[in-house]
Each structure stands twice: as structure tokens, then as C-alpha cells.
Symmetry: D2
């Protein structure tokens, strides 16, 4: 970074593509910032008038809001100081400057998992910014392009207003056996459909985009390694979420409509939820200043690998969510009167062991970060893949153990409205108590939270997203295969086995 930048005490002026506004400070500010954007959002077959007020979407907004409040409560955890400027920025918008920065992301992620019990949706942007920071630098080195400077300007602008940056990576893919240029419909992967003076026009759709409706900007990126004939698909750029060419179709989640029932118990986790939507980009113009790759197809794999290296260890958030599930299981065991029974204790220990195994590999990946040529820090890719791969397994086993500890009532508990019914409610309170002194309501709430996390709305985040987010299991296995240095390992074995000549008839 230039010393001119560093010495500058003047606030950098807002770029042309970003209307000035005061920075967002609190969760409340953030929620206010989302109002009135006129987004084109579909949910359950209807256009949503105002996402902020929609009972199904609101919990996902609350989860993002929690990231702002944590930054105020624990700045050392959820903010960072940019060395160059001395500016304190939200950690989700920070370009890492040390291994410790990378590690601190993980600690923040675990804490937010603990506080929300769900996906708080802000990691994709953080990881995308950091991956692009290096890849744009590398492209510029190779091609003399101006991407790195544009990206830095974009990041600074986001930092100043403290905005939420989401990603848009996973193309809808069509036939998975075919490359982008081989698809019968080329729009199956987002692409540049035409070039105009001062910018490009893109079209396509991105699936499973976490928290996109709750973001201010999204960064469009290719989803996989591209070849020379996929050049038009090699596009990276930033798009404002309220661009009129965007349509968002919200994915259904298990039990999503419980949020419409007007209660507070059956939802399980009334305050927080996740969000994933399909983004359709219908001929969206992107000005040059916001384009960070355009046609340099040979860097698509570099970008994807850097991003997934970061993002796969970002899944330590699930260890935070796991903490909640362990707590809920411990709670229900307590309410049932059996917390000291040996098999109950042992199952809680097993849950903790698996949960910390996830955390261990993730934070190890971050600690083992090294400086990139661009100056930011990149985590260890092998350990990140290992972390994520365990995330595709262990939360399912934690869920199974939590269901074991919950008891059968998990699946047969009457509605909270039955508990409130004057006729049958008192009978339920009589018969569905646990040990003496514990209210049936407390027991019901603990069960509903476990249901929420193992079968309900947040099971989508805790289980299915754990499986497929940041790449499905097979994607990790492919990366592990690439990085496992099997030839080095064979050499170790040869040395100890005393194999000096493998060739038949050799010495």
C-alpha cells in the first residue's frame, strides 16, 4: 500500500457508484438500512413488500444485525484496525494482515454461532474480499490489469459505510457433466452477454446465496475452474443488491411457516434464522470500476481455491452452533431428571469431542496462515478442507445424539397453542412435566430448540448447509487428494521399508 494512502488523514470521498451515507453502527442502524430498497423478492409464491417486516425473513435479518452489535460489545473480537489507515473496521470487511487476524475471524465466527444458533450470513463477503485481494494482485501482475486497485477501493468504501457484502458464486450449473460453454443454455453459468462503454452486462443465476437479501452488495464470482472457451464466464464484479435487474427467490426451509403462526415457542429459535435465495441476474450492467476479473479464465481456479480455503475453515461457526445444541441437550437431560446418568453424560462428552474436533482443524488452518504476495494472509488449505469435511459429518452425529437425549417427546410434543388452550392446556401442563420443579413450558422450549436445530428451520443451516456450503463433501475430497502429497508419503514408506529398487530384475 502506498505511503500516500497511509499518511492521508482526509476521509476518502465516496466513489461515484456509492451514494454517501453515515456508517452503520448498531444492529438497529443496520435493520433501518434495509428498509425501502424495493427489492424484487419472492417467497412462498408471493412478492414480498418489505423484507424487513416479513416474519420469515426477519429472523435472518436479526442474525446479521447481531454481527453489528457484537462489534460494539467486543471490538477486539469483531472489529480490526487497518494498519495502513489506523481505521477500525468491522472484521467481516477486514483484509487480514497477520495470522492472528485470520484466527480472530474464527473466534468471532464461533461466538456468533453461539449467540444466534444459526447462520449469520456475513462470512462469504469476508472470505471473498480476502481471496480476491490476492487473486486480483496476481492477475494484475500477469496482465497489467487494474483489478487490485479497484478491489481495494471497493473494500475501503464498504468499510467506511460498514456495509454487508454478500457473495454470488454457485451457478445453477444445468447438466453437471458439462462445462459452461457446453451447456445447451449458456446462462446456466453467469456470463457477460455484452460489453458496453464503461462496463459489462451480465446474465445468469446464482443458487443458494446465503443472506443475499440482507446484504447491501454482492460480489459475483465464478464457481469453478474455467477453460479458454469459458472466457465470458470468467467475470468477477460487485453489484448493489437493490439493482433493478436482480430478482431474489427465497428457498423454503423446513418449518419456515411456523414464523407465521404468531407464537414464540414452536418456532424453536424465535429470534434468529438463516437465509438462502436464488439470485437471478437479468442483464445487469456493471461499471468498470466494479469489475475485478473479466476474461482471465486461467485465474478462476486460483480464486475458487483461495476462497474455499478461507470459507471451509469459516465453518467453525458450526462449532458455535454446536455449543447451543449441546447446551440444549444438557438442558433437556436436566429437565428430564437424568443429567448424571452415565450414558447421558457420555453422550454430551461425545458431542463436545466432535464439536471441538471441528473447531480444532478450523482454527489450526487459520493459525497456519502465511502471507500472500499481495500482503494479506491466507490460511492453510489442507486443514481448511479437513475442517469442512468434518463439518459434513459431525453435526449430523451431534444432531442424532441430541435427538437421543431429547427423548421421544421431541417428535410428539403438542403445539404451544394446545398448551394455551383453556380446556386441554392444564392437562398438558399436568402430564408433560419433567422432574419436580421444572415447568412444562421450559421443557417444551428446550425441545422446540432441539427440533429447530435438527429438523426445523435451523437444521437447514446446521445440517444441509454444513453438507453443501463452501462445497459438497466430494469437493473437499478432491482438494485433499490434490494436497495430500502422496508421492512424498510414498518416499517415506520406501525409505523405511528399505525399497531401493522397485524394478523387477533390479539390484
Amino acid at each position: 500500500m502506498s505511503s500516500a494512502d497511509a499518511s492521508s488523514s482526509e476521509p476518502e470521498p465516496s466513489p461515484s457508484w456509492l451514494p454517501p451515507r453515515p456508517p452503520i453502527v448498531s444492529g438497529e442502524d443496520y435493520i433501518a438500512s434495509l428498509r425501502g430498497r424495493g427489492l424484487r423478492v419472492f417467497l412462498l409464491g408471493e412478492r414480498v413488500a418489505e423484507p424487513v417486516d416479513h416474519p420469515i425473513l426477519r429472523p435472518s435479518i436479526n442474525a446479521v444485525a447481531r454481527t453489528y452489535d457484537l462489534a460494539r460489545e467486543r471490538p477486539e473480537l469483531a472489529t480490526a484496525v487497518v494498519r495502513e489507515t489506523g481505521q477500525r473496521v468491522n472484521r467481516f470487511l477486514h483484509v487480514t494482515e497477520s495470522a492472528a487476524d485470520v484466527v480472530q475471524q474464527n473466534k468471532m465466527q464461533r461466538r456468533l454461532g453461539q449467540l444466534t444458533g444459526t447462520c449469520f450470513q456475513r462470512c462469504v463477503g469476508m472470505d471473498a474480499i480476502n481471496a480476491l485481494y490476492t487473486t486480483t494482485w496476481l492477475i494484475d501482475q500477469a496482465h497489467g490489469t487494474p483489478y487490485h486497485g479497484r478491489l481495494r477501493a471497493f473494500v475501503r468504501a464498504m468499510q467506511r459505510q460498514n456495509l454487508v457484502v454478500g457473495g454470488a458464486m454457485t451457478d445453477v450449473k444445468g447438466d453437471r457433466g458439462k462445462a459452461p460453454h457446453e451447456q445447451s443454455d449458456p446462462d446456466m453459468f453467469v456470463r457477460v452477454v455484452r460489453r458496453e462503454p464503461g462496463g459489462v452486462v451480465i446474465r445468469g443465476a446464482k443458487a443458494h446465496q446465503t443472506g443475499c437479501i440482507n446484504s447491501h452488495w454482492i460480489v459475483v464470482m465464478p464457481t469453478m475452474r474455467l477453460g479458454p472457451r469459458d472466457r465470458d464466464h470468467a467475470i468477477v464484479c460487485a453489484v448493489p443488491v437493490d439493482h433493478p435487474g436482480l430478482t431474489f427467490v427465497v428457498g423454503r426451509q423446513s418449518c419456515d411457516t411456523r414464523a407465521l403462526e404468531g407464537g414464540a415457542v414452536d418456532v424453536g429459535n424465535a429470534r434468529y434464522g438463516g437465509q438462502e435465495a436464488l439470485i437471478i441476474l437479468d442483464d445487469v450492467f456493471v461499471p468498470d470500476e466494479l469489475v475485478f476479473m473479466d476474461g482471465e479464465f486461467e485465474f478462476a481456479a486460483d480464486l475458487v481455491e483461495r476462497f474455499t480455503a478461507y470459507h471451509r475453515r469459516s465453518y467453525v461457526c458450526k462449532a458455535g452452533v454446536g455449543d447451543v445444541l449441546i447446551g440444549a441437550a444438557a438442558l433437556i437431560a436436566d429437565y428430564n431428571g437424568v443429567p448424571q446418568v452415565s450414558h447421558v453424560r457420555d453422550k454430551l462428552v461425545e458431542m463436545a469431542h466432535l464439536n471441538e474436533t471441528i473447531y480444532g482443524a478450523g482454527i489450526a488452518a487459520s493459525h497456519e496462515s502465511t502471507a500472500t504476495p499481495a500482503g494479506n494472509w491466507q490460511n492453510d488449505a489442507m486443514l481448511a478442507n479437513v475442517c469442512k469435511h468434518n463439518v459434513t459429518r459431525f453435526p449430523y452425529e451431534l444432531a442424532r445424539l441430541a435427538q437421543d437425549l431429547a427423548g421421544g417427546l421431541l417428535a410428539t410434543l403438542p403445539s404451544e397453542h394446545d398448551f394455551a388452550d383453556p380446556e386441554v392446556g392444564p392437562l398438558l401442563k399436568k402430564y408433560l412435566r419433567g422432574r419436580d420443579g421444572v415447568s412444562a413450558e421450559a421443557r417444551a422450549r428446550a425441545l422446540r430448540l432441539i427440533e429447530n436445530m435438527t429438523m426445523g428451520r435451523n437444521a437447514v443451516g446446521y445440517l444441509t448447509e454444513s453438507m453443501h456450503g463452501a462445497g459438497s463433501p466430494q469437493a473437499q475430497r478432491i482438494q485433499i487428494a490434490r494436497q495430500m502429497q502422496v508421492e512424498d508419503k510414498k518416499a517415506l514408506a520406501r525409505a523405511l521399508a528399505g525399497i531401493t529398487d522397485e524394478v523387477e530384475g533390479g539390484a
Copy 2:
């Protein structure tokens, strides 16, 4: 059985406690038989006017109805001939007369699991009748009581009208650390509150009762080993479901209200579902003819062990449900264009392997049946416990693998109403296709079925009920510990290790 019975060609007259009616033959007859009973059913905070017409309850009724239709389609599978009378009866009402009969129950159960993809709710009665057949005989031998004859009359009456018999076993239990007589509220376990001329009056509540609202009669049984001070809890009897003293509170299931949305796709499995409810018995009078145990507390354990031995291998139904899930996973892999990819094939094989492992132990338990002193056949208890214990594990792994194969869209698929929307629907059909030639709707339906079975309504049956039905995992471990003949195994080890004298200072 007496020869008088056997030679009788006269139809046995209906007993006083059972209004005469023609036997139920088809699923349609069965559904008709449920109408107009005036049951006191609560669901989602409301009294249900007519369960048959309730969109949430109806799929569970359809599942029971399927058992009648299967009996017509494949009588060798789903009916049996009573040797004594030559009468062909529904297999769910049959007292087993050979190991082959016990095995055939399993084959019928697997088939019904395949046909419904859910719990068809009729096994508890079958297993209860068979367990009681022996236990009542043993009690009569010990005490000169008339229970066995009463039970046989009850079974014959049920067979003649081809009724659905449900169970009512799992007490709500209160503090799990305390015996029935130690509870601060003795109603935590169903009990005789008073004796009247010609019968007894019982009170209490039974939780998680599968298909109870869809039954015609329920058999009340104690839930565990009882001691001399629990004598009033040692009550077994039959009660008609439309008895005015019964209240049913239906348990919520994940995604239950999707059935109220008016669609056919998002429900995943539109036709079939499970049902579990809390039954509250509010001072219900039971005439002597329908009492099969009253105070013989020392036989409670015998009954529970016989019942669980049958019922734990009845969980081979989950292998049938697993067949559906494997099929759905294969289907979505096909739609995605990757059915021949090696890791996809390998995951399907793993699913089949686990599924057949469940089936193997279950059917082995049935094949290894032996005749009881009462004349019916009882399956092997160790293998039954082993079967059920695998059921508490493997369906969760099958579900995990199915979610893996499904891809991320499982958790982010828009509502069927979005697909139908004139504005956004065409975009969804464009972008959410799989390989060429497969409609987005077919893909959506396959995904919704997997969602239904792994997170939605039937996940309750396929996962949580697999965990806790017929006893939670720890209950199986306790039985395995009892039956594992550890002293015999130690003797085998001693013989091979050459340990002839363990005593210090010995020879």
C-alpha cells in the same frame, strides 16, 4: 385351544362390548369406519371436528388404509389363516403359529414401508396381541386368573370385524428417576383409581401413541418393570377409541402445516404420513371382560420384554422406508446428470448396505422364533434388540447420505407456488433444471421427498421415531447387556487362554 372351538362352524356372536358391524375389507371401508366417532382430538390449539377430513391427519389415515388394500392385493403377505378356525384374518390381528408367521410379519412391514414411505401405525397392536397371548397364559398358570380366555375372545372379535388395534404403553413418567409409586403425582403412570362392580376405572396419560386416533381400540399396558408398591399401575386392558373419557392431543411434526397450504409438491409425500398423539385417560371405566392384567405386577416385566422383543424387530419397516429414500437419492442423482459418478454409486451402495443390515438382524430375529408355552411363537430377543439398535443409528446415516446426494438445492428450493407464479415461475423452470430432458418439477418433487424424509414430516417417523420408538437406545443396550451371556463368553476365553486357576497363589 379346545376342540369345541375348532369344530365350531357357527359364527361366534359379537360380545356385549362390541356393536356388531360387517368386517372392514378395503381401505375405503376403513376410512368410512372412522367417520362420525366424535373423538375428542386437539391439534394446533383447536378441537378437530372430523379427523378424517383434516388435511394433516388424513395422510396418516391413508397409511393405515394401505394395510387393508395390501391385504387384498397380496393376501399371502398381509393376511394369515388361523389354524384353529380356518379363518383368514388380517396379519396385523394374527396370533403367530409358526416362525414363518413371524417372518412374514417382517416382510409385510418392509413392503408397507416401501409403499407409504412412513409409519403405517398398525404394528403396535399386532405385537401387543402376541405378547399378551403368552403373558396372560403365564399369569393364569400362576394365579388361576381368566385373562388368557378374555384376550382370545377380544382378538377373535377384532379379527371378525377386521379392526385396527393400537397400543397405549408409554406413560408420561414425570421424574424419570422415580418409580410410579414414588411420583409426587401418581397419575404420571396410568393406574386403577377405583374398582367398581364389573370393572375398573383408570386414569393417566400415554405419550407418543402411534396411530391411536386412527385405531378402533387401544390396549393399555404398563411401560416398565413394576414392584409390589406399584400394584395399581399393573393394569392391562382394552378400551374403545371412541370412549368419551379419552382425549387425544396430536403431536406437532416438522412441516406439518405444509399439508394446509393446498399444494402437492412441497409436502414431499402428499398421500402418506405418520401420527403420534398423547392420550389422556380421564377416569375411564373398563369392564372385566376387557381386563387382561390387574395387579399382577410381577408380570409387567415379562409383558414388556415380550412386547419389545416383537416390536424391536418390527422396525424392519424402516428398511422399507429406507428403500424409498435410496430410490429418491438415486433419482436426484440421475436428474442431476451424475448417476454413474463413482462416489455417487458408492454412496448408494453404502445406503443399501446399511439398510439391509437393519433388515438382516430383524428378519433373523423372526426366523429364530420359538414356540411359547401358550402356543404362539416368540422371536429372538437379542437379535431384535440388535435390529432396533441399528435402527437408532443407520437411518440417520442414510439421511445424511441422501442429503449429500441431493445437493444444496435440497435446502434452498423455492416453493411450488413460486414455480406456479406467472412472473418468476418461468425463470425458475429455466434455471432449476438438471440434465437435459428432465423437468424442473420432477427434480423439485424428488428433492421435496428427500426433505420430507430427512427433515420434514416423515423425518419424525424415519429418524426420531427410529430413535425412540419401541424404546430408546439405552433400553436396547440394557437388554443386550442382559442377554449377552458374558459369563459364558468369559468361560470361552478362559479355556483358550489356558486359565485354569485365577486365584493368586493357586496352582
Copy 3:
């Protein structure tokens, strides 16, 4: 079978190729029968003069001998009556005549596993005879060949003298990526090298042949599906073990030489062990009467599938071996003074659960046998593969749990000769005691048995042979894939998902 045969009370005369001798009755007779055969056996770099007297080979002979003694002790278990002749024969030589016969094989196998703690080596012959019984019948039907009659004569002769029949199936294979006829050296698969009047001459080698040196005859069979260009490899025939053209090279086993040390403790299981050897066939002439397939390559797969279906459920023997290991683990827990500790009990239960899961699938495969067109009974192939596939996993977990329960002394226990040393022995007895009243020797013996089964000589049989015997894990997965009826399962899923038209643009 012809009625003439059945009515014959005359003893069938011994065939020309089999010298007459009285039938073997006891284990002692059997051991005597092995002496003086002049076999060409190599072990540890030396030609073995008399296998019966070799300390390493003798335990494997004892294990086979145990099959004879069990037949005397429990004839209902280890012998069977041939319906046609009324003759009682050893079950290992019996052609099954009912599902019950197939089941009884499993019960005998489990019992022998319990009694020997190792591989008793006699199953291959039993399974080969039964597989060939059907395949030869089918070949004869297709080609008018005389194989079935020859085989029956061979079996009757073996039954009369009560001999041990081994198999010789697994070719050494060379490059596993190539078919027999593609190998650079065609001897990599056993083949007919020339035809002579009255017989054929074969050459090649069969690896891992269980108990071959302890057999009287071996049945040579192809190891896999063959094509038209592999015709010379399509050879099935019987060869006497003492044929001069055979060479046997005994495989090393872990800790094999402990048997040479002269002690009785460190060997772990002093009496019994397994045996696997390489058989080299150096231009062996086989008379026509002993040829059961010659060139009918298209039946090789049928034979292999029938044989592996039988043989993969024969691995229930490992449940018997597992019983010993569970017993040994329970014993050492007892000696350490911790048998009632909850985690110890729980691990024993887990061991029993896994062990019975193996047994369940195996015995289910046998119970589900059906009659073949040849008249014998063939077990269910899917369940057999499932059984064997669990055998490639669960014994390893049982071994791990046994090592857990054993404690660290398992790997650090001094030699029995140290215990016997006048100087250090008393100190060892002082310090290596467990709970009061248990001798250090008993503790040492229990530990050595666990070592034997998890790392030592019988680990070869309990673990590695469990992995690869009757086909490696991938072989089972291929069979499971073939038999899992994935299209039927997809149809089930389609029906429940309501997929009536998959085609894009369809109704």
C-alpha cells in the same frame, strides 16, 4: 436323484482315484490321517519334514481336528443325514437339503469359532461343494456334460471317508488391471496347459488357500468371471493334496514364531491357529472323473457368485471368534477390578451389539435360502454380502474396544520367561497383579489372548482374513450394487413423490 440310488443298501465301492480307508471319526483319527503324506511344504525358508509335528502348523491342525470332535459331541449341530441314503455325514461335507440345513451350518460355524478362537478352515470345501452342486447341474443342462454326476460321486466318496476338502480359488492374478488371457505370463491364473487321454494337465498358483495343507483334497475353481478368450482358465477339478505336483508355501503370520519358543502363555492361544498357504500347481494331471468344468467359461461367474453367496455368510464364524474376544475383554476388566464401571460395561455391550449384527445378517441370509433347480438350497446373496461387508468393519472395532479395555499392559507385558525367572519373576508377580485375589499369571494369559486376537497370530484370521477372505470389501460392494434393485427403489420414490412425468415439457 434316482430312486435306485435311494433304495441301494449296498455300500458304494470306492472309486479308482481314492484308496479305500476307514472313515475318519475323531480328531485324533484325523491327525493320524495327515501323517506321512510327504507333502512338499515350505515354511520360514525350510522344507517341513512332517507338518503334523511342526509347532507352527500343529495349532492349525488342531483347529480342523476340533470339527471332528464337535461332530461327535453334538451330532445335531455338526453332522447331517443325507435324505437319499439315510447316511449321517459330517456337515462340512453335506449338500444342503433345506433352509434349515443352511442355517445349521452357520450355527456350527459360530460354535467352532467359540471353541477355537480362530479359523477352523473347513468351510471353503463345504461351500464349494454346494455351489458346484448347482453349477454343474446347470452346465450339464446347457451342454449335456457329465459334471454333476461326477461331482456327486466325488462328494459321496469324501463323505464316506469323512475327509477334509479344501478349496483352491484365488489366483495370484499378476496385474489386476488385466484379464487372464491378457497377462504377460498366462500362468497368473491356473489353466489347462495340455489335454491328455483321460484327463487334463493344469498349471498355476492359488494364493491364500485356507487350511490347504490340512486338507485331504482340494477343489480347484476359477476366481472370477471369465470371457471366451479365457477358456483354458475355465477349469474346475479335484486334486489330492498329496499329489507330487503340488508345492505349498505357508504364509507368515504375526507372532508365528512364538510357537517355537516353548512356552504356553505368550502364544496367547496355545492350542489353535489358522493356516493359509500358497499352492503352486506344477503341471498336475487330473483324470476326467475329477473334472467338473472344463472350458464352459460362461459358467465361471455363476460358480463364483454361488460360492461367494455361501461363503460370505460363512463368516458368521467371526461372531464366534468375537464371542471369545468379548469374553477376554470382560475377563481382563474383571481382573483389573473395574467390571461394573459404566464405560467398561458400555464397551462390552457395544462389542456384543456389533458381533450380533454380523451374526444377524449371516443367519438371515441362510434362513432366506431357496431351493435350486439342482435340488440343494442356496442362501440369499444380498444378505450374505451384507454380512461379509460388516465383517470387514466390525471385528476391527471389536479389536479396538478390546484393546481399550485391556489397558496399556497389553503392549508392555514382559515375557512369560521373565515371570519364570527366579530373580525378576517375583517382582513381576508383586507388581503386575490386578485386584486382590487374582494371580498375575491369569492376568497375563488374558492379555496374551487379546494380543493374539488383535495383533498376533489370530489377528490374521480375525482381522485381515475378515477383510479379504471370500472377497475384499469392494467385491461385496459390487455385488450389493448389482442386487440392490435401484430401479425398483426409484419407482417407489417416484410413486410417493408424485412424479408421473419426468420429461421436461411433459404433462
Copy 4:
């Protein structure tokens, strides 16, 4: 540390209890240093004249020697500079001064695992020194004792001569249900039997002591939490290995005597092996300068927890050993001609995934180190326990997968002496080749290495020691239970479930 120390340029004089000698530099020096010590070592029932020359012991000595040579080859990895003195010392003797120091231990350990394929035996001393560094400081703070200074002097002396320090921790324990003072023989736990002027006399035995015969000094430590009545057992001190009061009895290892057979192939890993022995202390006098705890029973638990926290993450060495096993499995797959087969690749990936999961948790534990009040750095205890707990599971699964990939020949391969035999050798070379171009010997060596690591001599280290070293699995579960902060987790769950009042009848 005093500034006097830091400024001192004079070499510290050797203490009275340590004869002066030049520092050990190379592996060769080290081996020379072990000669002629006259240790009282028993092995296989005989007194060993010179351990260095014993074929079974020598490989374990070579493994320790490798630590010296690595320090010369890669000083940044295997040495460290003491900040206070600027002296470069072997890392195994280094008191950590930063988290990076703790991490570097792990990297050295993994590398040595890779280089030796076994246990290199030097970690216990390293971890003991670091644990004692803090505990002695804490005791001194509480009691005004001089232990910390003594320990520092001891460590400096060890560093100057570059000696091997072993541990002596695990008491033989007798009846595991009883505390030390409750044992019928109090010697079951090492104890002070009397006090003399200038020192104490100790008696007892320590089991499973890794590399003790190969050490120069051992540090005696209590094995568990002690109570006030166990005061005499609360003894920590250093003892020279050649003290005449010590007797060592070497534990047998699987296949140990293959080292006596004179070959180089069947041993699997000819150069390296592990060592564990029983140490009997027969009234050994220890001078006060070498006593680091004497009676402060309340600090026993602190010491044990600090030591196990270090030592449980030291098991990342097994990831290095795992690298060798993965390499060997890849090698044999290559030799068999199937390296690209999908299930083979997938199993190698699974092995790598599990192996790196071990490493991830271990190195995370080290990275998360914090400074102790004494000034050295202590790693995270939860992650260390999690690391070790995975070590009790994953190497067994790696071993299982390696055996799968090895094929059946692993268990049936003839002896190397058969290969060398002029008669049968050529036949073996013909028939036991793999793919074209690979010698049978190379294949045999790869198989023998896998046998060595999964069933043979180094299976003791890779499996059984992985299970029990640094505490058996249950010990980790107890620590995880203590550290899992279950009350905090319950609070998280309560917050999200909205449970504000658990009390029945509460608001």
C-alpha cells in the same frame, strides 16, 4: 530468571550429581553414550548384557538417535535458543517461551514420526520438564519450597550435556478401584519409604515407560490426583537411569523376535522401533537437589493435568507415522496396478483426512498456548484432549484401510527366507509379482511395512500406545467433561429458546 544468570558468560559448573561429559551432538555420540552403563535389563527371560547391541532393543535406540541427527539437519525444527542464555538446546530439553515454541514441538514430532515410522520416545521428558516448570513454581509460591530453582538447575544440566530425559509416571496401580493409601500393598504406587539426611528413599514400579532404557535420566512423577492420606506418594524427583536400584523389564511387542531372525524384510521396518518397559525402583536414594515435590499432594492433580495437556497433543507424532502408513498403502496399490481405481483413491483420501484431523486438533492446541505464571507456555487442554481422543480412534481406522488396500497377501506372504530359497524362491518371484515391472521383493517389503504398522512391532506404538499412552480414552473423556463448560452452553440454549424461568408455576 535472575539477571545475574542472564549476564553470566561463564559456563555453569556441572552439579555434584552429574559427572561432567561433553555434550552429545550426533546420533552416533548418543549411541556411544549408552554403552557400558551396566543397566539391569530383562528381556525374554534373560538379562541383557549390552542393550545397545541387542537386536530387539537397537531399533528403539536408533529411533532416539534420529532425534539428535534431525537437530543437526534442521536446527530450526529440532532445536531452540534459550532466550535467557542465548544457548541453542535440543528442543526436547527446551522450556517453551512462546506459543510458537509449543507449535514447533508438534512440527518436530510429526517429522520424526515420518522419519522413523514409530515412537521416538523423547517426548515424555520434554512434556514433563514443561509441566514441572509451572507446577514447581506454583508449589514454591504456596509453600516457600525450593523446587523451581532445583528443576531449572536440573534442566540446564540436561541441556548442557544434551541428555535424554524420560518419564516414570504410570504406577502399576494394583486394584484400580482403590486409592494409593488403600491398596493392600502400598508399593502399588511409588512412594517415599523413608527419609534420610540429604534425601529420600523411594520404592515402587512404573509401568509402560517409553524409552526408559534409552534415557539418561528419568523423572518420577505421580500418576493421578492424590489426597491427604497419599502424602508419601506425592513425590517428584529425577533419577539417573544407571542407578543400581533400578530394574527394567522390557515389554514384549508383537513380532519382536523377527529382529532375531537375521533378515531385513520380514521385520517390516528394519531400522526403527519403539520401547516400553516396566521400571522397578528398589529403595532408591534421591538427593534433595533432585526432588521437585515431596508431600505437596494437592499439586499432584495440577502436575498431571499440565503434563497430560502437553502430552496429549504430543500425539501428533502419530500423524507423522500415519503419513508413512498412507504412503505404504499408496505404494502397494501402485504395485498391484490399481492406483487410479476410484475406491482406492477414495480410501487414501479418507486416510489423509483422518490423519490431518489428528494433526489439526493437536497443532491447534499448541497454537492456543498461553503464558503460565512461571513464564513458560502451556497449550490448550481441551484441544489437546480432543487430539488424543481422536488418536485413540483414527489410527485404527487408518490401519483397517491400509489392510484393505494391501490385499490378502498381507496375511499370507511367505517368509523372506522362502524367497531366498533356491528351490521355491524362483516360483515365488514368478507368482507373487504385481503389475509388470515391479519386483516381488519391492511388493513384499511394502506389505511387510504395513504388517509392521498394523499388526507387528510398530502396531504396538501406532495402535495400542495411541490408545493408552498419555491416558486411556476414558481419561480424555473425563477431562473433556470437566472442560466443556456445560453450564455456559446451557445458558446459550436458554437464551435462544427463550427460557427465562424454568420453575414450574413461575412467570
